[in-house]
């Protein structure tokens, strides 16, 4: 056991040396075809600090941490770790220097158990690991971090949140001295997030350092010691968190455009009497053989945004997948009305449902929303609602251009493979595409995930605008209560697979809803 603990030698409390510099970055430049992703960026990470890195979509945050993790190699510039100049050509190099990256998408191997995934990285114990010892160690460590997970479960059985927690656990157990979190905790439920932030503080007090990428400014102000801001690949500045406010950070991030950020409720629409989506007592099985959705009844009318609030993992995902025909409905009915006809779409398949004019913004957009290897035009043309049979590339190009202009997608051209765009810009492409095909209904799961505030507000306005003007019905599932309150006409709360309450937006009480969410 003692051996295992040596892996994380930092955890034996070392003096807290606030001023010592762990990572120093100078004049970092990274170019991608057609884009200058990082332009002379500097950065300084001190030992024992939590350093938030903020910036709008495509500012270069992800590129920056990927360079520190050895995934990308910079075109020029210097990286100095603990006083020594380094060149990382693979994550292995970074891990050797105690640098770990946890990103938004879990990278762990689904067919292995939690402990197997963790043992994989423990080089010393790779071949002859005493599994039970390590399992116990994992249990201890996870308690310490505030994570409850059985080391013996296979990873594929875990929810997104649990997978993400395992990623964090792994980084810590592997002996990371620098934790880089690229929106890794953004989508964790509040309770887990709080616990993890507490752990982060302890981690820093013991001499570890954290680079925290988030698009939530209040969060950064709350947990970080210092905040650095990037804008369009350039370094804007670094401020002490205690001297900064949401406004000053927003100005650094967006400049003039920061005035566009608002969390005021968007104008309420007057829904018609026509019910577009009618979910009748629907039961859906989750991945573990138990019902995740237990008798949900919902109605979304034309010209209405129904927001479903809830902590992730309470059946929202399964409900949305069932509505889209991607998961089997065990009991109950799903009806969609188009021009007077009410069509039973229960278990009729995604293509049937889509053909009625239904747009879909899925969870895990990079996996289910777009094809990363293909370009923007191809990602539009792949939808049966956009292209059938012979593709008219001329028209598709025009459509792609319109989308790029409307959503201000940062891309060299409409023929750029989507994988070369930043996460936020990919999301814009997806949202734009789905809005363009949603003639009757839009089903959206966290549609502004990974978008910066300005873009997120813009997207919500565009969605609401379509609802007001074209009487679109929208079913919006979001883990972000601000978002729910900003766009919804009606708010439903989902908890443990059931609808715990439905409120008209003007009468909804935030406290009451938060209470229902965790009931």
């Amino acid at each position: 056991m003692a051996d295992v603990i040596n892996q994380t030698s930092f955890s034996q409390s070392q003096p807290h040396l606030g001023g010592e510099i762990t990572i120093l970055v100078r004049k970092l430049v990274k170019r991608f075809p057609g884009v200058l992703a990082l332009d002379n960026v500097k950065f300084e990470l001190r030992k024992g600090e939590i350093h938030a890195l903020l910036g709008e979509n495509g500012a270069g945050k992800t590129t920056f941490v990927k360079i520190l993790y050895g995934i990308y190699i910079p075109d020029s510039g210097e990286i100095i770790v603990n006083g020594k100049k380094v060149i990382f050509t693979s994550p292995l190099d970074a891990i050797k220097h105690g640098i770990a990256l946890v990103s938004q998408i879990p990278q762990i191997i689904g067919s292995l158990t939690v402990s197997e995934n963790i043992i994989l990285g423990l080089e010393k114990y790779g071949m002859m690991a005493n599994v039970r010892k390590i399992e116990n160690y994992i249990r201890e460590q996870s308690k310490e971090i505030g994570i409850r997970v059985d080391p013996n479960t296979e990873v594929w059985k875990l929810s997104y949140t649990q997978k993400q927690l395992v990623e964090l656990l792994r980084a810590v157990i592997l002996g990371a001295k620098v934790l880089m979190l690229d929106e890794a905790v953004t989508f964790l439920p509040i309770r887990e997030k709080r616990r993890f932030f507490k752990f982060m503080r302890r981690f820093a007090e013991r001499g570890g350092s954290v680079i925290l990428i988030t698009h939530k400014i209040p969060e950064a102000l709350e947990v970080a010691d210092r905040i650095s801001v990037l804008r369009r690949g350039k370094y804007v500045g670094t401020v002490e968190a205690k001297n900064a406010s949401v406004d000053t950070i927003r100005k650094m991030m967006f400049g003039e455009r920061s005035s566009q950020i608002t969390y005021e409720r968007l104008p309420l629409s007057k829904p018609s009497e026509k019910v577009v989506l009618d979910v009748k007592d629907v039961w859906v099985m989750g991945d573990y053989g138990a019902f995740s959705v237990k008798g949900v009844r919902l109605q979304v009318r034309a010209g209405e945004v129904l927001g479903i609030a809830g902590v992730a993992g309470n059946g929202q995902l399964e409900l949305v997948q069932a509505i889209m025909g991607l998961r089997k409905v065990r009991k109950g009915k799903i009806l969609i009305r188009t021009n007077g006809d009410v069509i039973d779409v229960t278990n009729k398949g995604t293509s049937k449902i889509r053909s009625l004019g239904v747009g879909y913004i899925p969870d895990e957009p990079l996996k289910y929303g777009v094809s990363m290897e293909n370009n923007i035009e191809e990602n539009l043309a792949m939808l049966p609602l956009i292209s059938k049979g012979i593709i008219k590339w001329g028209q598709i190009r025009k459509k792609a251009q319109e989308l790029i202009n409307e959503f201000k997608v940062v891309t060299p051209s409409s023929r750029t493979p989507v994988k070369l765009l930043s996460g936020g810009n990919i999301m814009k492409v997806l949202v734009g595409r789905e809005l363009s095909v949603a003639k009757k209904l839009l089903v959206a799961y966290n549609p502004t995930r990974a978008l910066d505030e300005v873009t997120a507000v813009t997207v919500r306005k565009i969605i609401k605008d379509k609802v007001l003007k074209h009487k679109l019905a929208v079913l919006l599932v979001s883990e972000d209560l601000d978002e729910i309150f900003q766009v919804s006409d009606t708010i439903a709360v989902m908890s443990s697979g059931r609808i715990a309450g439905v409120f008209p937006a003007e009468k909804a009480d935030r406290e009451q809803i938060e209470k229902l969410m965790v009931m």
Binding site: I73, G349, N374, M382, P384, L385
Partner: protein
Amino acid sequence: MRVIVTKRVKPLRFGGIIIPFLSIVIGIFLATLALYGLARVPPPLVYGAIGQSLISPQMLQTFVMLTILGVALIIPFSAAVWNIGAEGQIIWGMIASAFIGLSVAVRYIMVSQAELPKYTNMPGMFVLPTPTVSGAYAVEALTMSPGAAIALMLILAAISGAVWALIAGLMKAYLDIDEVATTLIMNYIAYYAYNYIVYGPLQGITISTSGFGLSNALHPELRFARISTTTTATWEGVGLMIAIFAIAWFVLRHTTFGLRLRILGSNPNALKAAGINVRKYIVLALTISGAIAGLVGTILFAGNLYQLIKIKTITTPPTHNIGYTAILVSWLSMLDLRGVPIAAYIVASLFQAGINLQSSLGGVSGGSAMISSGALTYVLIGFVLTTFTILRVFSEYSIRIVREKR
């Protein structure tokens, strides 16, 4: 000093042309060294044979078949569906063509030896060279126009190849059984089925064919027309090649079907969420591939062989393993349709070079004459492809040397 290898965000420009070209030059050079080292084959002889084969009309038929097969394989390959079963699909194409050409499109008239001269010169009649078991001679008489018969051969061959691939496609799509294994295993099933058929339903009726694992010979009017006397390539084959290439190009680039096939290769989940039946696409990719491979069966049967000949050992089928060689062609093209004819040309030339080399080695004394043309061919192709595989790394990775300051 440190060498840094990084994956390129975008593949090397013109890498698709430079890399295959370089691999051929380097690969051939290495192959000559190996041939000299192993069997004292004089390098000038190798270069001569290769140079000759590049402009030799004899390689044309191989080129035509490899191009068609390359296209047939790129369709499922771009969807990450691996059809290793072109061999079996070709075999079924041959059987189907033989069925039409030897039994549907002709009827057999039995004549005595005395009557024979009357039929020998009669238009539309084809006298089989040896007598039948009963002593009489058999004459093949067409039951339909040659055009209709050839069309039927092609259609049935395409259907047969498609059905053979469809079986693997259904297993892959609905039971999630790996198509690499099924298509490969089904090649051998096809070989044995072929042997059963040449000893059974399609066995010849003359004394030199019946029971010897040979079918009757194809009626000359049903045989494809050779382009010239110096080549075995046929007008029909070349026409099919151009048509198939053009259609495949259009489908892959300009239809939603082609686009979705390509997306299926990288992200099937996105297709599902878009409302596309992914299973259908898997099945179709294999079926279309099988249909095209089936057509090659007709080209081989009606263009070259004219007769089904039993497979003595499964390593020497009448296809000369061209269904496997085609996999190399589609890899060498880097799964880009435009690269297929180029890759097919190179591989066909090397094939021919092996044959040429062997005949020129006949005059050289010593052990080198023992080398079969097959061995020579595969030494050449093997070296080129190995070089190609290594060089391809440069297209996807950049290599930089950095000087570190101490």
